[in-house]
Point group: C2
Chain length 232, copies 2
DNA sequence: CGCCCTATTGAATATAATCAACCGCCGTGG
DNA sequence: CCACGGCGGTTGATTATATTCAATAGGGCG
């Protein structure tokens, strides 16, 4: 039963071509891992151990430590994103991956032998595209931060989350924020109080509805204009 | 003469193992390209054409267009950084690469046949490390922006440039800023005027000296503390 | 020399951080 | 069951910070 559901899930996995060989005995994706809310999948500084992860359910925040024991949220990830791609060839994880809710990941063992020897060209190409895509993702995420006004960054974050949910098959207009206000604050570079005020401001402007972490975007176009700085 | 200096430069190139085969006839790096100040090496939206670039001299800014004809500087690059790594497997460039000064790049033709067929494992490994490193670089760059105060972001930028120069064999304390104040402003998400004021503030605090674009860091530790928010 | 472009400076206004108080939900333990 | 405490979140008042608009300075280049 466990096995069946596992296989069936994998067969529907959009990364099938990348993580499994053509024959059953070449299967590389080893096993699943449950990570409970607030637990770390890996921590900054740890050796990556030749593994990457694919989120099957739940969501994570990526946290970097700063000199002076402060922490920065540098990104969010949800199923079916990958985690750990940036550690290929690195001696240690640069950031920690902390589960925002009870989550499950696929562990893909990145053993060099199996990679070099058995993989098909298609898989290699897939990997390159994956890595390149991750660079673009990081750059895209960075763009969010290059705004002078915090309301622009906040609007952009809302839209970016909306896009993420849409492209993963969920509603783009109604979703639950898996992260705390503090996480958002750290991510967009404002104080936690400011997050509250901004969200309240957006609500008063009729752009969204929000109770606790349940978000409804009422006027994505207005958010778009807000992000672009064409609306105060 | 031209050929000689070209070969000699390549033999000193730190990316030798990646961009050339073991035998001379397997050489993949094709040719150099000169890009004049303010010209684009490539533009956002263009097809990448299976090429990546290695900066041999000069420097570039990476610029992304935003809805609403504004532009954002999302990064800087200098020799011997790579450009275009994020376009592997992508249909188009996500950002433009604009030369900040007269520059020269190596064009590495990313032909799939030659890549898949002729490359050595070492080269593939090198590529993965390169791509993963680029992800980390993008994330590192993003960290700079997650500060609440602009003085922290500015201090961090100064340090990050300093590190870049150091790791490329130049002085970490005296260098010339290749980018305009506007570029800096766009990059750290403040107004151009604010850049002036911040630099002046740093100067008055004795952290650096600056005339036009020639920068001398007088107190990197203070800058570090400033970036960490432990100094006003 | 004179122009243009980049950079700087000033004054007024807008924006966000900080400090402090408070609310409400949730889980814990009596 | 309820009381309690802690955490996450909100709100208010004040101060600090950054934008905006406007004017000015100064270098590089024809």
């Amino acid at each position: 039963m466990r096995i069946d559901s596992y296989r069936s899930n994998c067969e529907r996995c959009i990364h099938l071509g990348l993580c499994r060989g053509t024959a059953a005995d070449e299967q590389i994706a080893g096993h699943r891992l449950r990570v409970r809310r607030h637990d770390s999948l890996y921590r900054a500084g740890e050796h990556p151990g030749n593994r990457i992860y694919c989120i099957r359910s739940g969501s994570f925040k990526l946290v970097m430590a700063r000199p002076g024991d402060t922490e920065q949220v540098i990104g969010f990830a949800m199923a079916p994103d990958f985690l750990g791609l940036n550690t290929l060839g690195a001696a240690s994880h640069g950031a920690s991956a902390v589960a925002l809710e009870d989550s499950e990941v696929c562990v893909i063992d990145w053993d060099r032998q199996s990679f070099r020897g058995r993989r098909q060209p298609m898989q290699r190409e897939g990997l390159h595209a994956l890595l390149a895509g991750e660079i673009r993702r990081a750059q895209q995420a960075a763009m969010l931060l290059h705004h002078t006004h915090s309301r622009q960054r906040m609007a952009e974050l809302m839209l970016s989350l909306s896009n993420a949910y849409r492209s993963n098959g969920y509603s783009a207009l109604r979703f639950r924020l898996p992260m705390s206000r503090c996480d958002i604050a750290s991510y967009i570079g404002v104080s936690a109080e400011c997050v509250s005020r901004l969200l309240d401001q957006f609500r008063r402007l009729g752009m969204l509805q929000l109770q606790r972490r349940d978000l409804t975007l009422l006027d994505p176009d207005a958010l778009q204009r807000m992000a672009a700085g064409m609306e105060s």
